[in-house]
């Protein structure tokens, strides 16, 4: 029986987010998307070389599950092909982090942001 609404992994990712993006004012390389929907404000930023993500970072105002999901996505995709951004599986994230279904909408925002970022990176001429 577990009445903790957060899984151990969610707690760990929430308490030590290592992929905080630089603020808009701070010097930053790469591209970035911003979304403000479903009560969530989210910015995803990335740099890529030869179709591979060098950095993937986020800033977010949202619930612990969303913060953990952002951190998890960044950890998963860094060093992987840019194409991964267009292939985010909300169901898989929710299962891995034990995110309640009521929060699906917020995870879909993350999926959308990642896809938009992937599209931008693909449209950007190689450095």
């Amino acid at each position: 029986m577990n009445v903790d609404p957060y899984s151990a992994l969610t707690r760990r990712l929430f308490s030590e987010p290592q992929h905080r993006a630089p603020l808009a004012g701070e010097p930053a390389a790469g591209v970035s998307v911003y979304m403000d929907t479903q009560g969530v404000q989210l910015r995803l930023s990335a740099t890529a070389t030869d179709g591979v993500l060098d950095t993937l970072t986020f800033r977010v105002c949202g619930c612990p599950h969303l913060i953990a999901a952002c951190e998890w996505l960044c950890r998963s995709l860094e060093g992987k092909p840019v194409a991964g951004l267009s292939d985010v599986k909300p169901a898989a994230i929710m299962q891995t982090l034990a995110i309640p279904v009521a929060k699906t909408g917020r995870i879909l925002v993350l999926e959308d942001a990642a896809a938009a970022l992937g599209a931008q990176l693909s449209a950007t001429p190689p450095a």
Binding site: F14, L23, Q41, C63
Partner: protein, 389 residues
């Protein structure tokens, strides 16, 4: 277990005072006063005496006739019995009722249910500090108004209403006046005989008594005969049947005696804690105090920081046990209706944290709370995105 957390949620519920727990213990076992107080036999009469003595203790605390106290399962039931009971019993005389959106859900949800049943409810807004201007009550009273419910101390902000003036207005207009005093009893002086209040809801677990027992005071007055919610026997004048829980009532009585004795000390104590916590966090950029300091009970300190998300803030505050709005709101995850009604914008209401203090809170706990709060806010602010220009 208290090694695992720092409990600052006394407005949600208090621990039972050890002296009260001991009294309860004496009313449980085979060698104690456990019998059914409705029974005519010796053991039953001993239980009945214990109940009578508890009624006297509670009556002393609020200065009322002990014979006018009904035992219930808590303030939720007391509120329902008062509001549904009086509204329905007087429906033939009129169906207009008055309350505020800043009341506890155990009041607002009852009025909403009555609205669906064909009653008309006027919802009075408070000032930004949370207090009701008596003039707006006066303006709302009509010839068909039957009942007004205004709480004494607000459970989210500590805002204190001017029950004396509001009661006077109701009395002038011949309207029944119900006060949810769950957060006030044993903390602020409340004199039922001096005030013009007709129905008063109380709960033991807000004053170091047990959960699962409350009381409703009903003034003896023409036209004040609430319909019962429960049927099932002759107990409590048929207004609230069921076997009386002797240990809970004895515990409530003892908690009331202690509260009477300790009220001033308790008040001084929580006031000092509140001031100290406020000093420890007031420099947090963008911090806002919800509720007027001057008109709030200091056992509660409610603060917001613009733009932070409440659930994340609550988690970042662990191991502090505090509340976003009232505990009852915690399951619904939407910004507090109380703060909204006070005009607090959603972006601020979202991050509202209620600290509440009690008899067993220490200064050290409050100091630690300030440190943790500052760190949590700064951590989450650091994660916030800026909207692109």
């Amino acid at each position: 277990m208290s090694a695992d957390w720092i409990y600052l949620d006394y407005a949600a519920t208090t621990p039972v005072d050890p002296r009260v727990a001991e009294t309860m213990q004496r009313h449980l076992g085979a060698d104690g006063l456990f019998a059914n107080p409705s029974a005519l036999h010796l053991a039953g009469r001993a239980s009945a005496a214990a109940i009578q003595s508890a009624a006297e203790s509670l009556a002393q605390l609020v200065n009322c006739d002990p014979g006018r106290l009904l035992w219930t399962s808590g303030a939720t039931e007391s509120n329902n019995l008062a509001i549904q009971g009086v509204a329905r019993s007087r429906a033939h005389q009129g169906k207009h009722l008055v309350t505020m959106p800043t009341e506890h859900k155990a009041v607002t949800d009852v009025y909403r249910a009555l609205e669906k049943d064909g009653f008309e409810v006027t919802w009075l807004k408070p000032s930004p500090g949370g207090v009701l201007d008596p003039a707006s009550l006066e303006a709302a009273l009509r010839s068909d108004t039957q009942l007004v419910s205004i709480m004494y101390v607000n459970n989210e902000t500590g805002a204190v209403q001017d029950i004396e003036t509001l009661g006077g207005l109701c009395r002038e207009h011949g309207v029944a006046f119900h006060v949810d005093a769950a957060q006030a009893i044993g903390k602020l002086k409340f004199d039922i005989t001096a005030l013009e209040v007709d129905l008063v809801s109380m709960s033991a677990h807000k004053l170091y008594g047990p959960k699962g027992v409350g009381a409703l005071y009903v003034r003896k007055r023409d036209g004040l005969n609430p319909d019962p919610l429960l049927f099932g026997g002759a107990q409590q004048g048929r207004l609230r049947p069921g076997t009386l829980p002797v240990h809970l009532i004895a515990g409530f009585g003892h908690a009331a005696s202690l509260a009477r004795e300790l009220m001033l000390d308790d008040f001084t104590h929580v006031k000092a804690l509140c001031d100290r916590l406020w000093r420890g966090i007031q420099s947090v950029p963008g911090l806002l105090r919800n509720g007027d300091e001057a008109s709030c009970y200091p056992g509660i300190l409610n603060v917001s920081v613009d733009g932070l998300e409440g659930e994340s803030l609550l988690l970042a505050l662990e191991p502090l046990c505090v509340s976003t709005g009232s505990a009852c709101n915690s399951q619904s995850q939407e910004p507090s209706g109380v703060l909204r009604a006070m005009g607090v914008p959603d972006s601020l209401a979202e991050s509202a944290i209620r600290f509440s203090f009690g008899r067993t809170t220490s200064e050290a706990e409050v100091e630690t709370a300030a440190v943790i709060y500052r760190a949590a806010v700064s951590k989450l602010k650091d994660l916030l995105p800026e909207a692109p220009e």
